[in-house]
């Protein structure tokens, strides 16, 4: 049990568990927003686990999750679009969800980058971090923008 594993456990309990409870209760849009948050946090936990177990192949799971998580969230946006965007959420909700989905990414990716051997691994970790930030921000925006607000860029 090293510091990375302890950090992963803490992130699971403090971050992932509340997001999971958010998925399990409430109206549909809140569940989908919480699901987006949960995918980001799960990818970050995978990065911490790859450091904790010293197994670089674990970062591949974070990469796959960073690609597939936004896809899974945008499925809801595409199939339930009118229902999800029927009402506009309060600006505070939008801002909080955006910050919650973006802020933990550098807080985890940068320490992992510093601890990993410099070189291609660093670039890979930074790429995963950029994917996570972009996917999370895009999904939050697509889910909280009402129709005609310019946010319906899902094809």
């Amino acid at each position: 049990m090293n510091g990375w594993l302890a950090a992963a456990c803490a992130l699971l309990l403090v971050g992932f568990l509340p997001a999971l409870l958010g998925i399990c209760t409430g109206p549909v849009r809140r569940r989908v927003l919480a699901q987006n948050l949960a995918t980001v946090l799960a990818a970050l936990v995978m990065l911490l686990l790859s450091q904790g177990y010293a197994r670089p192949s674990y970062t591949d799971m974070a990469l796959v999750l960073a690609v597939l998580g936004p896809v899974g969230t945008l499925v809801y946006e595409r199939l339930l679009g009118e229902e999800l965007r029927a009402s506009r959420p309060r600006p505070l909700v939008t801002r909080t969800m955006t910050v919650l989905g973006v802020a933990p990414v550098p807080a985890v990716v940068l320490p992992v980058c510093v601890a990993a051997t410099p070189g291609r691994t660093t670039l890979k970790l930074l790429f995963i971090g950029c994917l996570l930030v972009a996917g999370s921000a895009l999904c939050t925006r697509a889910l909280t923008t009402p129709p005609g607000g310019g946010g319906s860029d899902g094809r």
């Binding site: 049990m1 568990l17 919480a34 949960a38 995978m46 597939l68 998580g69």
Partner: protein, 89 residues
Amino acid sequence: MGGDLPVVVALLLVAVAGTAAVLARDPVRQAAVLAGLGLALALLFAVLQAPDVALSQLAVGTALTPLMVLLSVRKVRRKARSERREEHE
């Protein structure tokens, strides 16, 4: 005991998500809970040192399961709507 802590935490998450998936009644909401359960299971497999299983669980659980559930929900709703319209005519 210290080394088992991640496993215990992941098992707890799976138990929470699984219970919620059983208790959810509306299929749309259940699809979201199933996606969360898939994430929790992938984390459990990762903690149990099975990254390959976790990879396939991620591919199936996060994107494919909600897609299939939502596609069927949409089809059923459309069918119900068109039948109602036929009754009115």
